[in-house]
Amino acid sequence: MRRVLYIFTSAGQGFSRNPAMSIASTLTVTLMLTLFAFFMTTDRGLQAAVTVLEGKVELALFLDDNAKVSDVLALKARIETDPSVARVDYVTKAQALQRLQDIAANRPDFALADISTNPLPASLEIKMADARQAKSLADDLRAEVGKGVVYDVVDNPQVVDELLTITRVLSVGGIAILAMMLFVALFVIVNTIRIAVHARRDEIEIMQLVGASDWFVRWPFILEGMLVGFLGALVSLAVLFAASGPVTSVMASFLDVLPVNFGADFAVQLAASVFGVALLVGAGGASLSVRAHLAK
């Protein structure tokens, strides 16, 4: 009990004995964690956007008016066997016309002239399970054009392609920036704890002489490192919380087409990750520093 008390008071003393350094390292950790949270949130938002858009991606296969229904159904069955395809719907000429009339009915500026024939082709609408395969599937199907069944293939996956590229760039860039920040935070913590160790070197020497275990010597410093991490996490979450309102409204107007909603689950996940990273970095940096001292 006394031992635990000693460890905790030592950690607190270590932190307050050199306030400038402790605050500097806490702020560095705060900056790192805020960036971490920012990337985590952005990544989650983009992923949600990609999922929503992926659900909307479809290929349209316009059919020749003279195509036999049996051939069309055979083609439909063949496309359905592709694992990257979620669903294939057959839209007849009559259904296509009905859709157009429905759209026109809802828009007063859009009047349909009454023509006796139906100029709209029948089509197969392909919903993709994996949007990334849309382009190659479309290329495959283009080979069918002119063979009597397929008249044209229309694909429009560019938006998803672009989003996927942005996500990839952000992930790679984010990881690189985070790695650098992590390194800086570790470096600062290692140095903060090194100063704390140096201030206590006599005490450490005496502890070792009277038979304290290495762990007992290490714990106050590791706790001090974790305290730096913990305070950094608190400040960074406070900043995030304060910023989340305005940022959300800006993002909502910017991305209003996308029904992206993070929800409470994500907030909990984010806070847990921020604290986890903070404590790990604090404890890791501190133990590196003490280990180096004890190995001397």
Binding site: L209, G211, D214
Partner: protein
């Protein structure tokens, strides 16, 4: 209790701090280590508490081969071997009682035992009245008695003193020596490195004389110089 078996300590620059040392110290012995500065006294002491390791040979303390102790066991060795230094090595921000109790706290003893044992050794060294003082409020002799109390509080079987009177005036030195003699009479094996010829000659205990890292003399009831 302590056995050195053909022990040498060679530093990376090639100089020998100890060379081919054989030494056996029985339980309850009182041994003076003498010799000029740099003869190897401090190195020998550092080997006993595994502050350093021998280059060759074996160092046995209380049945354990000190050189082969895993790192995690070193702290247990040090609880069985009390050490006192010339410069006392007290923590200036802790009181006498706290300095002594510190040696118990770090080993994880409970509060009741810490209070009881601290009181026991403080009365043994005659510092019960000074328990609330800080080191800089004490005389040199009192500081050294605090250090001795701290070394004894874990009830070690061996007490090692490296020049314990080196910073003290003659009268105070004698107080410390009387105290150490008393500790030895209570059964603790005592190894003391010293330059104090007067004390060695007066006590007539075993004398181990080191010169350039070798044992050149080992006498029962010896004198400081041959």
């Amino acid at each position: 209790m302590i056995t050195l078996d053909d022990v040498s300590k060679r530093y990376p620059n090639g100089t020998y701090a100890l060379r081919d040392v054989d030494l056996a110290i029985e339980a309850g012995d009182f041994v003076f280590l003498v010799g000029s500065s740099g003869a190897g006294k401090s190195t020998l002491i550092r080997l006993l508490i595994r502050e350093e390791s021998a280059s060759t040979g074996r160092v046995i303390v209380d049945g354990r081969d000190v050189g082969r102790l895993p790192r995690g066991q070193v702290s247990h060795l040090r609880r069985k071997v009390g050490v006192v230094f010339q410069d006392f090595k007290l923590l200036p921000t802790k009181t006498v009682a706290e300095n002594v109790a510190f040696a118990l706290i770090v080993t994880g003893r409970s509060g009741a035992i810490v209070r009881e044992e601290t009181e026991r050794v403080l009365s043994l060294v005659g510092l019960s009245q000074r328990r609330g003082h800080f080191p800089d409020q004490l005389s040199g002799g009192e500081q050294q008695r605090t250090a001795i109390a701290r070394a004894l509080v874990n009830r070690p079987r061996i007490l090692i003193a490296d020049e314990p009177t080196g910073n003290l005036d003659p009268v105070t030195s004698w107080e410390i020596i009387k105290l150490l003699t008393r500790v030895n009479e209570l059964g603790t094996t005592l190894v003391m490195a010293t330059h104090n010829a007067e004390i060695v000659n007066a006590l007539r205990r075993r004398v181990v004389h080191l010169d350039h890292g070798r044992v050149v003399r080992d006498e029962r009831e010896g004198l400081y110089a041959a």
